[in-house]
Structures are given as C-alpha cells and as structure tokens.
Symmetry: C2
C-alpha cells in the first residue's frame, strides 16, 4: 500500500504535530493510522515472542521489519514466493522495512566493512560469508519483500566520525538515495529518504534540503546517537533536521523509543518512532511503568521495574492499574515474577505486550494533548514534580 500523510493539527505552543497516515491498497481501499505513532519491531518477520493477534491488540499502526535480517534469512526471494511479507508472516496491516544500512554498520562480522562508492562489502554475522549491499540491492530486496514503506540505503557513520568524514558520508548517502530511487519499482510501496549529518547543524540542514530535493514519500532522521548519557545531542540532531522537512510529509525518527525521547522528539516535529527496546526489555524481565525517576546526575531516567525482583513475589496487583493491556487486565506482578524466575516464555510474551502497549498508549496521550493544544502541559506532567 502507498502512504500519504495529512497534518491535522499543530500544538499552538510547541508546534508538535498530530496527523494521519493514509495507506491506499491497489484496490483503492484505505487504512488510516494516527500520528504520533510508535512502531513495534518484527526484525525477522515476527515481533519477538508475540503472535500477530497479540501485536494487533496493542493497537499499533505500522510494524517494522529488517531488510538485512530477511535478506540473510529466509532470503527475499522466499518471501516474494510466499506472496510478500504480509502473507509470509500473517500481518495484514502496514509494514515498513529499513534499508539494512544500520545493520551493516552494527552487525557485520567483527564490524569490519569496506565502504565504497558502489556499496558496502562486509561479512555475515551468521556465518562469516562475504556480502555486498548496494543502494540498488537494498531497494530490490525491499521491493521483493513488498513492505508498504521502503527506506533508502544510507551510510550510518559512527558517532565518533569527524566532520570531514561526515560531510563525505552525507554526500554519498545522497547519491545512494538517488540511485535507490531510480531503481525503485514496486508501485504499491512508498519510499522514504533519510537525513544524516551527525551532530552538525550545517550538515543536517544540507542533508535535509538535498534529500527533499530528490523527492520522497516521507523522511526519516537517521544517525541519531541513542545515547542515554547524551540525550541533548539526540534532541539537537532532530532540531537541526526537522525544520527543513516539508510539513505535509511524515517524519520518522529511526531506532528511538524511550518514553522520554518520544515526548521530547514529538515536540521537535517527529511523527513516528521505532525501537526494539520494549520487546528487548521484556525478554530481560523488565516492564515499563509511568513516572520519571531522577538520577543523581539529574538525567531523567524512565521508570522500569524488573520482575525478577523478590519484592514482587506477593504483589497481586497489575503492572499498572490504569493500563488497558492484556497483561495488566489479566495478570499480577506475582505471576509475572514467577514466570520470569522460571524463565517461562509466556512471561516474556506478557511483558512484551505491556511494554509495546505502554509506548503506544503514550503516543495516544500525546495525540490528545496536541489536539487540545496542551502539549506543553503534557510534557510538564510527564516529568512530574521531580522534573530536572
């Protein structure tokens, strides 16, 4: 399905955006989803530990799948033969695929890679075999996966890269974006461009302007350091990027999903997010809960609880009293503690459901606040009385 974005309201004080994504199927039928939006991640054509029905019950819009992983296993041709990713994984709502660029950077065997103008040579983290990913190949794979939104293949330089390197990298990413766009062939798939430029205002501006000039169905902000110790740098990179993106198109901040980041980056003009954290936290026994705990360094830290903790042994209350998720409606912390202690798979499932729904509920609250022009108050309430 092709996607368009409709900006429905901007918060009067902060400019935070409330909007709608409209997906149109080949037969003309549509599916609509509101933004701000959090996308659960289904890396290997499954949102870890969940059935599609369990994911659906968290009320997401889009889910994300990883091109790099599906290219390696089972291979894009298998997915194509299965009738595309929706059919293969039994997920009949929108899917966004990333380009593989980030995974090449972060997962390649020994992280050794050779970046050329043509593409990136690297070794598989699965078996050490030699791989070569190019902008054209990434788009070709995504065309075959038949996701609803494909991402341009970009370079994701390390946070430590100097400005000269980053400038060259941004230029190359622009050439790669143009090459990818030129070969994009799936008429039922939208294609998004990605803004890079590290922490530099001039590079972010230039990357945004030039990417917009190439013309895409939506825009992502990438290469944003997801660094707990330096949230300000992340927020600044967003601030340097969004002003140069068209207001009538959607903006997606890649790989960011801590509650405080959603709140802060929506304020800075972002519409959609994705992150593995809710399911990863769950697999380690953690549940997201409301409230901000201020650490000694005055950095806001999300409140999370670890269900392994013995204090939950006899806690017969839900994770959150006001949460409407399946887990909170049916299970106590004592039961979750028991399952996590016993390493039972269902404990991970239940925490994943809660954590995903937690982030989606947060976006729902943000939408309401924006529509009512009280997003500034919402932020203040989010930080609570202990705000830094």
């Amino acid at each position: 399905m092709k996607v368009t974005y409709k900006l429905l309201h901007q918060d009067k004080t902060t400019g935070a955006r409330y909007g709608k994504l409209i997906f149109t199927a080949p037969d003309g039928s549509t599916q609509e989803y509101e933004t701000p939006m959090f996308m659960p991640v289904g890396t290997q054509a499954t949102v870890k530990t969940l059935s599609p029905e369990q994911v659906k019950a968290t009320k997401p819009g889009i889910i994300l799948a990883n091109t790099y992983h599906l290219w390696l296993r089972p291979g894009e041709n298998i997915v194509k033969k299965a009738g595309g990713l929706h059919q293969f994984m039994n997920w009949h709502s929108p899917i966004l695929t990333d380009s593989g660029g980030y995974q090449v950077f972060s997962l390649a065997h020994n992280k050794k890679k050779d970046i050329t103008e043509e593409g990136v040579h690297f070794k598989s983290e699965l078996d050490g075999s030699k791989l070569f990913l190019t902008p054209e190949k990434s788009i070709e794979i995504q065309n075959k996966l038949d996701s609803d939104i494909a991402m341009s293949f970009d370079e994701c330089p390390p946070a430590t890269a100097d400005e000269r390197y980053l400038k060259n990298s941004v230029e190359r990413t622009l050439r790669w974006a143009a090459r990818g766009k030129a070969v994009h062939k799936n008429p039922h798939q939208s294609l998004f461009g990605i803004v890079q430029g590290g922490p530099h205002q001039n590079l972010r501006k230039w990357s945004a302007e030039q990417t917009v000039k190439l013309g895409f169905d939506g825009y992502a902000v990438g290469g944003v350091a997801n660094d707990d110790e330096n949230k300000d740098a992340m927020y600044q990179a967003v601030e340097y990027s969004t002003p140069y993106l068209p207001s009538n198109q959607v903006r997606y901040l890649m790989g960011v999903g801590e509650p405080v980041d959603l709140v802060e980056c929506v304020k800075r003009g972002i519409d959609i997010f994705d992150c593995v954290s809710p399911t990863r936290l769950a697999r380690h026994g953690n549940a997201l809960v409301a409230g901000i705990k201020i650490t000694t360094t005055n950095e806001p830290k999300e409140n999370r609880i670890n269900l392994k903790n013995a204090k939950f042994t006899e806690d017969f209350t839900p994770l959150e009293h006001d949460c409407d998720c399946y887990t909170c409606k049916n299970y106590t912390k004592a039961y979750l503690h028991h399952l996590i202690k016993c390493d039972e798979a269902f404990g991970k499932t239940l925490l994943s459901i809660h954590n995903i729904r937690f982030l989606i509920r947060l976006t729902e609250k943000m939408r309401e606040a924006i529509k009512a022009d009280r997003y500034a108050d919402f932020i203040q309430d989010f930080y609570g009385p202990n705000q830094p």
Copy 2:
C-alpha cells in the same frame, strides 16, 4: 470444581469408552468435557510458550499442572493468596494437579532420595536444599493450589525394580493413598487414586482392587514405562489394571501421550491422558503429522517432521492440509522453517499449538469412532496400509 464421570457408550467390538466429565462449581454451574481426552501440560502454571487463549483454541478439557514445581516455585501459599491456581494463571477451565511423586523420583537432585514410611527425603534440583514430601503434604499443597482434581501421592519405583520391591512399594502407596485421603480437605476438589504394580499382573490387580476399596473420585494408572522400545509392556500394564476399576468412574493414564499410545490405551479402557511431548517436541522444532512410519524393527513410530529441515525452505503449504488449528490455518511450513532456524519464540508457539491440537483432534476422532461402534476400524485406519 468437583468432577463426576458418565460412561455414555462403549464400542461394541473393543469396549473402548466414550464418556463425559461433568465439573460442578460451588454455585452449581457445570462444565462438561468429553472423553477420550488429552490434557495439555502446564507444569509451572503455564503451558509452555502459550497464552491461555492459545491453549483454549486447541479445545482441551482439563489441563495439568505439576504440584512439585509449584511447591518449589512460587510456593503453594503464594498461589493460595493469589486466589488459587485458576486465578493465578488466568485459566478458568478445569485443572488437574499431579501429586509430585513422579517428580521426586525423576527430578530430585542427583536422583538421590530416601524413601521412608513417613514420606520421601530428597534434595531440590533447583538449589540442592533438603526437602521432605509426604502424602499429607502433597494433598495439603494441592488443596491450597485449588486444582479441580488432586492426585494421591504415590511411589514411582524404577522400571528395573524387582517384584518383592514392587510389592512393598504397592503396599506403601496404598497406605499413602489412605493417609492422603484422610487429610484431603478441599470440598471443591476431587481426589483420584493411582494404581501401581509395575509389569506384574497380580500386583496391578491387587493395587487396583485395594485402591478402589479406599474409594476415590477417579483412578489413574501410574508407573507405566513410557518406553518406545517396549510399547507392549505399557499396554499390558494398562490391561492388567483397567478390568478392576469401576466402569462408572474415569480412568487416567499418567504421562502417556504418543498418538499410537492414545489409540491403543483407549482400546484398553483408558479415558484421559497427559504428556509434555507435544510442547517439548515443538520446542525442538518438531510437528506431529498423521500417518505411521514403520521402522525396520516393525515398531510403529509416529510420523513427525522437523521444521529445521532445509526441504521446508520453499514449502508454502500448511503442516497438515486437513488440520483446523491456528497454525495450519495461517502459516506455511516455509514460515515455520524460518522461525525455527532463527530460534524465534513464535515458531515454538506455533508448533505447540499444532501438536496439542493434533492430539486433541485425535481424541475427537476416537470419540466419533466409539460412538459409531467402529473403533476397531479406526485403529486399522490409524495404522494404515503399512501396519505391522
């Protein structure tokens, strides 16, 4: 809920039983389930990898939970405080708990244990701590767990035990059964007795007669070697036991769940079964599929397929075309192969669903055959043209 059994029909040729279990709640409301029945196992208050809704969709009657495991974690007092096992695990259909006897025998640390008249001293397999389980303690734990059916605490001697040992063991198990019955206090819970006696006809007969004399709400056949190499011994132990059990009470064969065993033991007068095999096979990537493969030794072997096998890479068909389970209705072998190769939890979930439903569908077919007095033909069809 207390349970009663109603024998509705016996197959004219084989004597196989079709019946009904009627569970009556304290408020007088009832739940009815047909037999032959297969009970999925939820050892630690969860059927491994499945939500209660996913279990329910396989259409089971009762599920089984393990007293030994729940005694160790989270402890019966926690479960009682949670409002009982149904409440704790969000399962609102019948639950049977075993007595812990088998686990003491099979799981105790280093399998060292000291069996006295009073009970069994052994060490926890979790932390090596000293434990002591008695008939009274087992019943007390089960009373607190508040399952619908509790089992008497029995000794499960090794298959290699000699007849003199077994005779003493059967006598002790009878004394234990009487002691357990004497302290059984939960008015909403039924209590079953267990027939032991190893491979010996005289001991089985005596154990059955004496257990029936004590008087229980139902009877189990225990200590049946679940040995692929010696199916005949298993079937014989059942044959030596069931003739001495009252026809108007239910008979439960403990820990047996291969398809061929269900077919053969229903012929010998068994009504209900339980086994960890469908979920355990699933976690190792195996799916049960119809058909018997005859091995060189002429022993019937259930057909199962391992989804890891590369031949399923491009197999876009369901596990079984005529299966009505969630997995077969929505997913292909190619997708299952992908999930199992990637060690994704959802692959184990999908195979568990299919395998449990496979066994329950088998019992449904058996019921129909018995009702139509064609159970002998059913057995012949089950073995197929390659029968031994």
